[in-house]
């Protein structure tokens, strides 16, 4: 009998260390670089905010930005999207060092990890290039789908080669990416749209989430509570990012995450074109329309597309509502994790409630990394001069890019580990799709009602101010 080798460090703490070091490294790079004198107008002039940016004499910049990138969009040849190969190599080097060190720390073999990781990274790059082809990109079919597809294609034909196995570390990539995502959540954004924004984003969303979960458990009687929760969060909060965070918080299976992401991407691609047309038929006020779109559509990309199809005001309100809703990811992941370890996961035979120590033992600790990163960036944003510039330099320059790569590697890994038959099992009977459709119907109704109530009845002057731009 061989004793099971216990890793020296748990994956959650490893993700906190990797994600945390990347966040701290990015912040340190921006701080050490200092504020650089600007010789050209800031980027936001292009978007019409002249008065703010032309006054600036010095802005924060990230020296890491030229060395970290994702493939760009292309039309005729994939090479058009790979114009900065050194920046892709920069990401490869960073991820090899960080994850390689992490694997060593947890007692894994670096020499077995590296060859597999290079192939997983290559597959991730191909998935990214596929997503950036203009016809695919403009339809909102993001890299998660193609990463999953490439992985599935390999695992369901020749099977994932043995050399890849040590590098298939889905959980580690996702959790590290989520810690990096925390760095993109600024607490001050909660008040961006005053009380109407908070009510639309932070009242409707939890109500829809809880009701959909209840509906799935009690009415549809979905076998897997975690699948139910991931679909509910994906649909009510903000699509793929929320699905990833919630799946980790409730320990959902990889196939369950893939199912939720697949359903969400398919419905969002349709809804982002249907909703603006429905809004035109209903002749809605642009502010109410924007708030409805922002509160309902799953992904930020789809929200922007649908909002801009209505007009500039609707576009601005839609992305602002979505941004406030995005902030719920941490709260939802924390709440789901606590609910899961204290209620769902507890030993079914035991009637004794788990004590605080037991809850802490089971709690997915990476969420603390997410919250910590958010608190740190929010603190620095409030204390440093030109905090907005600082935030943009850190996020746009490095953490956002690395977060997207972590998620891309995770979806390649999920595909490589997934059997088509296991995936088909979740679609059988149509319960997962029914849950999504029912939840989204409720979301559409409540978001519209709340947007109308807020901007027509309670804060009509706010709608007038926004419409007057």
């Amino acid at each position: 009998m061989t004793a099971e080798v216990r890793p020296r460090i748990t994956e959650d703490w490893l993700a906190i260390i990797i994600g945390g070091l990347l966040v701290l490294g990015s912040i340190a790079a921006v701080l050490l670089n200092g504020r650089q004198p600007q010789t050209a107008p800031a980027a936001n002039v292009q978007s019409g905010e002249k008065s703010v940016s032309e006054k600036k004499t010095a802005a924060w910049s990230n020296p890491l930005k030229p060395y970290l990138a994702v493939p760009g969009k292309w039309k005729d040849s994939p090479l058009e999207g790979l114009k900065a190969p050194e920046a892709i190599l920069g990401v490869l080097l960073t991820t090899v060092v960080m994850f390689g060190a992490g694997i060593s720390m947890s007692g894994g073999s670096l020499s077995r990890f590296l060859p597999g990781f290079l192939i997983v990274f290559l597959l991730g790059t191909v998935a990214y290039v596929m997503a950036e082809q203009i016809a695919i990109r403009e339809a909102g079919l993001e890299y998660a789908l193609w990463a999953l597809l490439l992985g599935l294609m390999i695992s369901n034909t020749v099977g994932a080669p043995r050399i890849l196995k040590p590098a298939i570390r889905t959980e580690l990539y996702i959790k590290s990416g989520l810690v990096l995502l925390g760095c993109e959540v600024l607490l001050v954004q909660l008040v961006a749209l005053g009380l109407p924004g908070i009510c639309i984003s932070w009242i409707v969303t939890p109500v829809v989430l809880i009701t959909t979960f209840w509906f799935g458990q009690r009415i549809l009687k979905i076998e897997s509570a975690s699948l139910n929760m991931v679909i509910s969060a994906d649909m009510s909060v903000c699509g793929v990012s929320a699905a990833i965070a919630t799946a980790e918080a409730c320990g959902a299976k990889k196939e369950e995450l893939s199912t939720a992401v697949g359903i969400s991407l398919a419905f969002t691609a349709v809804m982002m074109f249907v909703m603006p047309n429905a809004i035109r038929l209903m002749d809605l006020d642009p502010v109410i329309a924007g708030a409805w779109i922002g509160g309902t559509l799953d992904s930020s990309g789809a929200v922007s597309v649908a909002g801009e199809m209505i007009g500039k005001t609707a576009g601005k309100v839609a992305v602002t509502i979505k941004m406030i809703q995005n902030m719920l990811i941490g709260v939802v992941a924390f709440g789901v994790a606590v609910y899961w370890v204290s209620r769902v996961d507890r030993d079914k035979d035991s009637r004794v409630k788990p004590d605080a120590g037991e809850i802490w033992r089971r709690f997915p600790k990476f969420i603390l990394g997410f919250i910590g990163a958010s608190l740190l960036i929010s603190y620095l944003h409030s204390r440093l001069p030109v905090g907005d510039d600082f935030f943009k330099a850190v996020v746009d320059g490095s953490t956002k890019t690395l977060r997207n790569w972590c998620f891309c590697l995770a979806f390649v890994s999920i595909g490589l580990e997934t059997d088509f038959r296991a995936l088909a099992h979740y679609f059988r009977g149509g319960k997962a799709v029914t849950l999504y459709v029912a939840g989204q119907a409720l979301n559409l109704l409540l978001s519209l009602a709340m947007s109308w109530f807020m901007f027509r009845i309670v804060f009509p002057d706010a709608a007038k101010v926004l419409n007057a731009e």
Partner: protein
Amino acid sequence: MQSERLANQRLRLSIGVGLLLLIWLVVLPRISQLPMVEQWAAFLDDRGVNPNAKFFTDQPAAFVKSRQVMQRAREHAKAFWEPVWRTEN
């Protein structure tokens, strides 16, 4: 028997890869040249919209747009924080 199965698996993978190459290198570039697709891409580019964005920070123009809204909300704090029945009194 096993080598036949392996050959079959490799054939399926090759067909899949071939199909992807055909779609991405031949079909999609042609679709991208359709006037409708070009106009749509230009419309989104003009507005700084990335339809593939997962999070709001993935949107090139989202930060600026939300800041403009935030600025308006700050300038007209009463309109955004006090219900209409309180401002009427």
